[in-house]
């Protein structure tokens, strides 16, 4: 994070992505004009409440949107120079699980209950590598060991129901990193776990990220997890990016009213406040998105007339700190005058 210019070209580049869902014949944008980049070896966090589009975005990147219901309407997803959005099902299958893999929130349901752990691990290896049965077995044992599972020789013959939640998430991680992907998308990887187990898994993810030199997109609603893990953070609200900056700036100099309120809404261990800040109302559902203006306007404490009419653009407020809010557009305009 020094001022030195990075030579690294971005690993993933999402440009003006719009993903829409078909509800009763009309398309509604769940992800609306979102652009961001992930550099090699970077951990990028995407935060937001339910319904803000963070999971839909990850499904768009992986091309896992439900067929016939959700689709990418426009925009580009460039991964390592390849246009993912243009790939056919067959072609994306070669990328999925190999160069990009994903771990999901539910360690209870994302493993197949009918197959052994070993089978599910080796399946990925057989799909993407030329490898003998014997080697695949040895490799899967090594993988399980690398994610901190004791007695892996036994575990490969066991079924998912025989493992605890934390163990299952470790197996999921082992499957995800089996082919040493360049990018790992982790969608709420620790939400279903207890805090002490969450601490173990986060520790493991960090370690693997460094050993394997990979990038991670970490999707979460927990600002504590973000502060601990990420380099860059994207705050999403109702399908749009509200704020995007490095982790330190986000926590110490948040700009967007939504980010500020979100920070004030979490009870903190080391502070005593009588009343938490709360945001009036709820995230609008897809069908009830405001058609014009800023989507946060209705709940925003510092709303101005123009917020209801036009959409604020995500623009750089300070170096590397992008905000989509009219409060800062005026200050930018003034600076321009100076």
């Amino acid at each position: 994070m020094s001022g030195k210019l990075h030579k690294d070209a971005p690993l993933l580049e999402v440009k003006n992505l719009e993903t829409a869902f078909d509800i009763d014949g009309t398309y509604y944008n769940a992800v609306d004009n979102v652009s961001f980049t992930v550099k090699p070896r970077q951990i990028v966090g995407i935060v937001g409440e339910s319904g803000c589009g963070k999971s839909v975005m990850s499904l768009s990147i992986m091309k896992l949107l439900p067929k016939g219901i959700g689709e990418i309407r426009s925009g580009e997803i460039l991964f390592d120079g390849i246009h993912l959005e243009k790939l056919s099902d067959k072609e994306i299958n070669r990328v999925r699980g190999k160069d990009i893999s994903m771990i999901f929130q539910e360690p209870m349901t994302s493993l197949n209950p009918l197959f052994t752990i070993g089978f599910q691990l080796q399946e990925v290896l057989f799909n993407h590598q030329k490898i003998s049965k014997q080697d695949a077995k040895l490799k899967s044992i090594a993988l399980l060991k690398s994610v901190g599972i004791s007695r892996p020789e036994k575990i490969i013959d066991e079924y998912p129901h025989q493992l605890s939640g934390g163990m299952r998430q470790r197996v999921m991680i082992a499957i995800a990193i089996a082919c040493q992907p360049k990018l790992l998308i982790a969608d709420e990887p620790t939400t279903a776990l207890d805090v002490t187990v969450q601490a173990q898994i986060l520790e493991l993810l960090k370690e693997i990220q460094q050993v394997n030199d990979m990038s991670i997109i970490l999707i979460t609603h927990d600002l504590g997890v973000v502060a601990e893990m990420c380099d860059e953070v994207i705050v999403m609200y109702a399908g749009r990016i509200a704020e995007k900056t490095d982790v330190d700036t986000l926590f110490h100099n948040p700009k967007h009213p939504y980010t500020k309120l979100l920070m004030g809404a979490i009870p903190k261990m080391d502070e005593d406040v009588e009343e938490l800040s709360s945001i009036k109302g709820i995230v609008p559902s897809l069908k009830n998105m405001p058609t014009a203006g800023c989507r946060f306007a209705e709940r925003c404490p510092s709303v101005m007339p123009e917020c209801m009419v036009s959409t604020p653009k995500l623009a750089e407020n300070e170096q590397g700190h992008e905000v989509a809010c009219f409060l800062y557009e005026t200050s930018r305009a003034l600076e321009g005058v100076k």
């Binding site: 601990e228 982790v247 920070m263 809404a265 080391d270």
Partner: protein
């Protein structure tokens, strides 16, 4: 800071003088495990294994712990949704653990519950007005008009619009549904409310709305809370004192501040250190625990935490430490102290 501490102290003193509303003595709740051809009881899951604590009037006691530690079972046993295997539940000095029939019914007016899942705990085919009115109808003979004004009043108190009365639960968001659940719990003006993970299904911004509401209502109605949650920062925000449970046992009880500033039990230390801090500049000195929580079907001998404890001694695997006061208002169950 110091004036703040002083204020807190005098506040605590004031609370100490208050009478005890609920006292739990050596409570045990076991779930029988059935097996074999005749479905005989072949073992017990010791969900709550010999815990004691008390709550004073107007106080909030938080219960924290990870899944399977018995915190929900404790709450459900107190409200008598589950039968205690042994021990006493003294509510206003009277043991309610063995009540049945009419006398049990009567006590339910005074103890109410707010559940975790706002989607499953409301009847989907009842109007919200009827959901909130039901407890009142059960306990009071009251005219239709009066009942309606009372329900409207309750809905307004929890921050729901008036037309909510005629709507169904599915028409509301998670946060609003939890408000309905709170209105129902408040309907009989109970003395004690057991809130079992009331905000864990909610988003952060909605969570803070509900937490603020609970605090307001506590002041207005002079309520006593048993607040059960797995999120230590939420519990700390809400509670005056906090009890930490592990595998059916109470390992530590103390004031909210001292539990965070100087946790004594090795498990509490690990638990506090495991919480990700929303501040990237603070590097956590994390104590990462090894392994998983053992099964309560076959708990370890001695201290339930000893197989995962970094400072375990010989004694820990032999005898179970009892909860004792090591500092004023700070109890811990550990052989170290």
């Amino acid at each position: 800071m110091s004036t703040m501490d002083l204020k807190n102290e005098s506040f605590n003193l004031e609370k100490n003088e208050k009478e005890t509303l609920l006292e739990i003595k050596n409570l045990k709740t076991y779930y029988p495990v059935k097996g074999g051809f005749f479905q005989r009881t072949i073992g017990n899951v010791k969900a709550v294994d010999d815990i004691s604590f008390s709550i004073k009037k107007g106080e909030t006691l938080g219960l924290v712990g990870e899944s399977g530690c018995g915190k929900s079972t404790t709450g459900r046993t107190i409200i008598r949704l589950l039968k205690a295997t042994a021990g006493e539940i003294l509510f206003e000095g009277k043991d309610i653990s063995k009540l049945s029939g009419k006398s049990l019914q009567a006590i339910r007016q005074d103890i109410q519950m707010v559940f975790q899942d706002p989607y499953a705990s409301l009847n989907p085919i009842q109007m919200v007005g009827d959901i909130v009115a039901e407890p009142i109808k059960n306990f009071k003979s009251i005219g239709k008009k009066e009942l309606k004004t009372e329900v409207m009043d309750l809905l307004q108190k929890v921050g729901l619009p008036e037309d909510a009365y005629y709507k169904y639960a599915h028409e509301f968001s998670g946060g609003q549904r939890q408000r309905i659940g709170i209105a129902r719990a408040l309907a009989l003006r109970p003395k004690l409310i057991i809130a079992d993970e009331p905000v864990s299904a909610l988003d952060v911004s909605v969570q803070s709305q509900v937490l603020n509401l609970l605090k307001e209502l506590q002041k207005e109605f002079d309520l006593t809370f048993l607040f059960i949650a797995h999120d230590l920062s939420v519990v700390k925000h809400m509670s005056d004192r906090i009890g930490v449970m592990y595998l059916g046992s109470m390992v530590e009880i103390s004031g909210r501040k001292s539990l965070y500033d100087e946790p004594l039990h090795p498990y509490t230390k690990a638990l506090v250190s495991a919480i990700p801090m929303p501040d990237p500049r603070r590097k956590a000195n994390r104590i990462v625990l090894k392994g998983d929580v053992p099964s309560p079907l076959n708990p370890p001998t001695g201290c339930p935490f000893h197989p995962r404890c970094a400072v375990a001694m010989d004694e820990c695997s032999k005898t179970k430490p009892i909860l004792k006061e090591v500092k004023p208002g700070h109890q811990v169950a550990c052989h170290l102290y």
